[in-house]
Symmetry: C6
Subunit: 246 residues, 6 copies
């Protein structure tokens, strides 16, 4: 079966690769959804770092949450030297932090354009430019929350997310995009992003503070859908793929 599914891209996080039956399917767009501080950015960075270091696969990180310097420093603290990879040409950071500041009302030429549409168009352009320039095999967009939360009505939000997913699909790269959970605890509203992405991984805090990773969805893959415990330490994310959530 694996063959017909196309090549797998390992994340380098052993337990997660095991849950994923080897890694992400090539060319898929996967949503990484999580609570604050649960390691969404770290998971995505490990995916890029592993590809660049072990597979010589080019990766780009489209960062909407922080400037490159902060990102670099953060990841260095977790043992990932992205400066070196950047020099080697296997990593690029695209600073997209301005997207989330685009004013509500802007103009394209003389035509007034709602700021949020502009934000979306800008992000799409950034993604496509970066892809053309770098031809990456692995892409991360961290995060889409500022963009999608501008569309509180579901009927408006669905086509926006759809546009984004299809832009990412068009790159042929394997793409992770992160997003924020809206609530904690048992039972939650499902977001349209979860249906429109081809895969969904969720990172949550469970009772008393332990953490759990779960693959909700992974089109074209036979994955382990059970929640598994994980920790974050100086080596990054460690998933205990054979342990139960107690």
């Amino acid at each position: 079966m694996s063959q017909s599914m196309g090549a797998r891209l390992e994340t380098g996080i052993t337990g997660l690769d095991s849950m994923l039956d080897g890694g992400f399917n090539e060319g898929r767009v996967v949503l990484v959804l999580g609570e604050p501080g649960c390691g969404k950015t770290i998971l995505c960075s490990e995916f890029l770092h592993y590809g660049a270091t072990n597979k010589n696969e080019k990766g780009i990180f489209i960062g909407m949450n922080e400037p490159q310097s902060r990102f670099m420093q953060e990841m260095a603290g977790l043992g990932m030297d992205f400066s070196k990879l950047e020099k080697d040409g296997t990593f690029s950071y695209v600073d997209a932090t301005e997207v989330r500041r685009i004013p509500e009302q802007a103009k394209v030429g003389r035509i007034p354009v709602g700021g949020r549409e502009l934000g979306l168009v800008n992000l799409m352009d950034m993604i496509q430019e970066a892809i053309e320039k770098h031809s990456p095999k692995r892409v991360v967009v961290d995060s889409i929350s500022d963009l999608v939360f501008r569309y509180p009505k579901m009927e408006e939000r669905r086509p926006v997310v759809l546009d984004l997913v299809e832009t990412l699909q068009g790159t042929k790269a394997t793409c992770l995009m992160t997003s924020e959970l809206l609530s904690t605890g048992e039972g939650r509203l499902l977001q349209p992003e979860e249906y429109l992405a081809e895969g969904v991984i969720i990172l949550r805090t469970i009772q008393k503070g332990a953490r759990a990773i779960q693959i909700l969805k992974m089109r074209g893959s036979k994955v382990d859908t059970h929640a598994r415990p994980y920790i974050i330490n100086e080596n990054g994310i460690q998933v205990y793929a054979t342990e139960e959530i107690y």
Copy 2:
């Protein structure tokens, strides 16, 4: 009793056919409701594939979520060769992805028409054209979410769903339509689709990540209404029809 109910259409998923007391009743319109990644599309595809392969029954798949190529590739990975069936004339894919992009405001001739009404009309036309052309015995509409979520007010949404259900009933084929659950966990709001369809099957993730399938409703059938565990593997969906949800 089974006789008076009309012929049964097996899904080919052994455990589910057992829960359904043999299969779907001919000519019924059934809603397949599920969380992201729970296999709504796979279930429907197996229904078509089994009919075409084992019963020589024509099937059509009206796809609003993905273009034909993605669908074909996905299902090939699960052992279903729809290309062959297409050549054999027992399968057709109707690409309806454009329906969910129809702008909010459009024009029919010189008359402005709300985009959402247009979307609905287009889908109805597509369904009817496809039926006339192919005279299928099995029909899948995957999914109706983009359409119905444009009508957040229940009093507007009910007639839309009703139109869709009656259009499908008019085809005389046995029809599955998929839709997205709005929330996870215990207790949920019921959707008008669940009342207007003649049958409802629900696919959910339960505690810790196991999956459960349940027949909420099946007009004209004596079915097993208990939730049963299932998994998705390289052979598709496996339902454990005699096991309890723990």
Copy 3:
């Protein structure tokens, strides 16, 4: 006491009659509330069928959900031959499906009338005409959901439901009207229909898929208010009136 309460109308569902202390009180208007597929229509049909077959009591079914042919076929599959009863003159089907299609804005003569008011007026007229024509002892309205859900504001919905209940009370027949539950699970919002009807029976799915029937309210009767398990099989609804819900 039973005597002062007036005559009882048995439903023919043994367990339910036992819970009802013999049957419904003559002339009452009872709401049958339920989740999708829980047998609201079957329960009401058994009530009519039993009266016509065993008591020679005329019954009418005012159907807003499906045309007569579908209804007849459905019930035939459960062993109820309403065609025969129709020929015998003890059963009539009033097709009220058009009521739920009445456009939001309509005209009565030259006076524009809100479509929802028109829907209500039409249904009232249909009920009264049918009563005058058939003088039934048992009446079913299946269902009132399309009508009442047009009035999302409670202050508007109460008088509408009140009008309907009083119209039914005016017929002197014993009347069942069905309606849809809005949510599943523990705890729910109460609907004004539940307060305005003289009796309320609720049909729900409980944990893992078993079903429970409960009499919430039955004015003028001493009933069993505990939830009891039931199943639907080829003989219709079987209520286990002496069993506990586990």
Copy 4:
């Protein structure tokens, strides 16, 4: 203490009188809140019937939910002969059902008045007229729901309820007013009526269908605030004041 509290008015429901430490305090306005079919009207009627029969205390029932004939018949079935009491001059029924039908917009002379204000004014007038005419010692208003639900905003609803409570206080009679619960299950929104009334009794269905009565509040009384089981049978409400809710 009891002395300083003023005289007690027994309800005649033994277990409830025990929970109330002898009965209601004279001159208090008490809210009887309950789910559909839980016996709000029966409780209030027993209160009037007991006073008239055993204490020769005049009572009036201001009925907004049903015409006098239905009320009389209902209560006769529970062994309360209000016709006799009416002839004896110890009971009067005030038909206030028209209040809930007052149109949203009405006119007082040539001045347009919001229908809901009119409804309130009418009810106040009815209450005061009835009091002047009958000088009752016991008063029931069944129910205030149609009135208060016209004011969905809390800031509008509070003064309306306040007016009503003070009108009732002004009568010097002991007054019960019934109202409808908005939801079932654990945890609920509190209504302003519960704060503005001087006492609150709640009637609910608990798990599996047993019923519980609880005194939430009783100004000037030392009451049992624990929920206690009760049933309704041919003798009316039976409260098991020494039993626990299991």
Copy 5:
């Protein structure tokens, strides 16, 4: 530590004083939040009564819920003779019931003023006048609900509550203000009052009807934050400060 905290004002409710580590800190503004009938007014009255009787400390009660006569009578029933204290000059009742009736739109001179602002201004004036006149050491405002519920938007409500709290702080007296809980059960929305007051005590009904008192917050004090059972009897509130809530 106690010394640096300033003097303590005992409530006279032994168990509560124990939970409070001796009483309220002098000059603090404390919110007493509770369900209907849980004894908010009684708790506050005991605080005033104890101060006047045992410490010769002047107290004022600013009553928005009931006229003086009702208050006096209620408390007399619980063994508190406020008439005597009033004559002795250690107690004053300020009738502020009119504040909650101030019309939505009013005029100050020729300037139209929103009724709710007027209500707030009036209450402030009443408080300040009463303070200047009586120089009390203990102040109760019962309750602030009618005032704050006029401001359903949190951004409007915060400054209103802030004004009130600061007015009370300006009096240098120790002040209790009561308010109503919006819901029962586990988990609730927090109100801005709880953050803006310097202390918060909550009175609730727990499962089956037992009552619990809990100190959520008490700036400048080392208090027992555990919920403790209490009852209300003819001696007022009895707190079991060493018992657990079962």
Copy 6:
């Protein structure tokens, strides 16, 4: 790893420093989120006090909730003498209480400016002025609730919080900002502040009144994410970093 993370700033609360793996990372902006009375202000004050007393690190407290005198007195009661530190030049209090009073509509010169934007601008200016003047190593903003709650729409609130976080990041100091939880109990809505801050600590009351501290998030640190019990006594906050929440 610790080295690459930059220097640690101990809080002086032993158990918390242990949970934080030594203290806060230098230059981080951390959100301290808590229920009323759970010690948000105390935690932040201990952080400043410890730095000034033990490390000779300058600290400023930007207080929006109370004037300096109240703050000083409160903390003195917990053994922290900020007056002395102020004289020593290692502590400054910035009174920002006026920010929360800025009217909804104000003018900058002749240009009308929404009051809430003005409030934000003023706070930013205050922070930057204070930083320039004092060059602190530790900064506390207590609290941001009045500011952020003026923006109930998430799409408006995100950029406001972002501006604030980036202003604080620009100071190079380690910054704590406090905010109020909106609800109690299991499961809650996540606030955008929690995603935009670099660290999040939460202080809650758990069942029956015990308190728990939990580190939800701490970018660049390997922390203990389990909830741990704590108490507040005359020595301030005591965290039991090795105990479980029962």
